[in-house]
């Protein structure tokens, strides 16, 4: 049974899945002096949206369509060369899976918990959670691409004491692009159902990957990634 409100429950920043502990690379970019204000935050989010966001959206949509979680997880590994980011994605996946199983009990979610004791990549779990909630691939993709920018925006508010109104306005300006990226993600996920996971997008941001390893080596940091 599908309800629109289920999407709000899943996408809510207060959904207890641990995302608040991660900055999506914003902490490294702030320290490197690449994010200094609302304008550079918006550019950071735009870049993340079209790279990691597109990939996450396509993985989530493919999982929501019923693609094999193991194949999707391996595809996520290949698209995530940074081991710090692979670890973060699995940790987030495990936390989301716990919350999702309690919220929308399903045999598919139980099976993923058994197959990936250390956690599957978060976007794959997100897609399966959407499926368990009776949502479709479009919903899963929108959730994933929105998370790819909302996390860094929230983190930057804390890191730079940025005015939260300005951060939220940046997200609102990105909204039309979020829709377009979600559409591309769903189209790619449908292609992947026919052609296999190689058809999923593999867009990457070199500074996200390199910055994640730099960040992981700091002795003290505010965010886990």
């Amino acid at each position: 049974m599908m309800t629109r409100a289920a999407l709000l429950v899943l996408a809510d920043g207060r959904f207890p899945a641990g995302g608040h502990a991660h900055s999506g690379g914003a902490e490294a970019a702030v320290k490197a002096g690449r994010i200094t204000d609302a304008a550079s935050l918006e550019e950071f989010c735009r870049g993340r949206l079209h790279t990691a966001g597109l990939v996450a959206g396509a993985l989530a949509a493919a999982a929501a369509l019923g693609a094999d979680p193991g194949e999707l997880d391996a595809a996520a590994d290949a698209r995530t060369p940074s081991p710090a980011l692979r670890t973060a994605a699995r940790r987030l996946g495990r936390q989301l899976l716990r919350a999702a199983r309690a919220t929308w009990p399903s045999l598919e979610l139980d099976a993923v918990a058994r197959e990936f004791p250390k956690g599957a990549h978060q976007p794959v779990v997100l897609g399966l959670a959407a499926r368990a909630a009776g949502l479709g691939p479009e919903d899963a993709a929108h959730c994933a691409v929105y998370e790819s920018v909302s996390g860094p925006a929230t983190a930057t508010v804390r890191l730079l004491s940025l005015d939260p109104f300005h951060a939220t306005a940046a997200l609102a300006r990105l909204a039309p692009e979020l829709d377009r990226v979600a559409d591309r993600a769903v189209a790619a996920a449908r292609r992947a159902r026919a052609e296999g996971v190689d058809a999923l997008p593999a867009a990457s941001g070199p500074l996200l990957e390199v910055g994640a390893e730099w960040h992981a080596a700091w002795p003290v940091r505010l965010f886990a990634s």
Binding site: L49, R79, D198, A202, P206
Partner: protein, 255 residues
């Protein structure tokens, strides 16, 4: 209509390396079509060396270039290029394609170390590099992209690198940058004004058991273990020279 249709060049180069049975490597196939010309140069030890000559004048808009390399079991091949490759806008217009396929058999070794790919203003190139490495294969692959010649804005460049090793995809990444690329490509998440970007992939069977340790090499480069018998160095730099220095330095840590 003037009756003249301008179409791009279609050209293919093929290299097959085979163990010659005397501890060396033979090249039973070494073919190229203009502008791709592979030349055998002096070999060292059991390794055959090939230089790709003349790739410099292309690819132009509308061109479709393909390079196919197969290194068979027990063979060792080193491929470089005589000069940087420059993507230029062409009369035919439209996107140019450059597809590289590298097949490295179990027990074979390939060093794929071409010079930089430079994206000139107004060009539009989609380059794909697909590696299929067998279970015991060894590979060193370097890929460097430079956005624009000195003082020039970059063209559009999209580059996908896919590496399969021992039957699984260990790396699949695409970088899109330049005029017309999706938003944010020059922002703080992707290139942040850096004009040179590169990767070094090293596949070795022993990395499956003992992966390299992840290490940040400053804030602009990192050495990481991939999910499989492979390691990757990613780097961004202000220019080609500094990028090469970063990648060379990282390679010495792996040897």
């Amino acid at each position: 209509m003037d009756g003249v249709t301008v179409t791009g060049v279609r050209a293919q180069a093929r290299i097959v390396a085979r163990a010659d049975g005397r501890g060396g490597t033979a090249l039973p196939v070494l073919d190229g079509e203009v502008p791709l010309a592979p030349r055998r140069t002096r070999s060292s030890g059991s390794e055959a060396k090939v230089v790709l000559v003349g790739a410099m004048s292309g690819p132009l808009g509308g061109d479709r270039l393909t390079v196919d390399v197969r290194v068979e079991e027990g063979a060792r091949l080193h491929v470089g290029s005589a000069a940087a490759t420059i993507a230029l806008p062409g009369q035919a217009g439209g996107e140019a394609r450059y597809d590289v396929r590298l097949d490295v058999a179990d027990g074979a070794e390939l060093h794929w170390l071409p010079e930089q790919l430079i994206s000139a203003e107004g060009s539009d190139l989609y380059v794909t590099t697909r590696v299929e490495a067998g279970a015991g294969a060894r590979l060193v692959l370097r890929e460097e992209q430079v956005l624009g010649r000195v003082g020039e804005r970059p063209g559009r460049l999209t580059s996908r690198l896919t590496v399969r090793a021992a039957g699984r995809t260990v790396l699949d990444q695409e970088l899109a940058c330049g005029l017309g690329a999706p938003g944010g490509w020059d922002g703080p998440a992707v290139l942040a004004g850096y004009r040179a970007v590169g990767q070094l992939v090293v596949v070795r069977p022993e990395f499956g058991e003992r992966p390299v340790e992840a290490r940040a090499l400053g804030e602009c480069a990192a050495l990481v273990p991939l999910a499989g018998p492979a390691a990757l160095v990613s780097a961004v730099a202000p220019d080609a020279l500094r990028l090469r220095r970063l990648l060379d330095e990282a390679l010495t840590r792996l040897v």
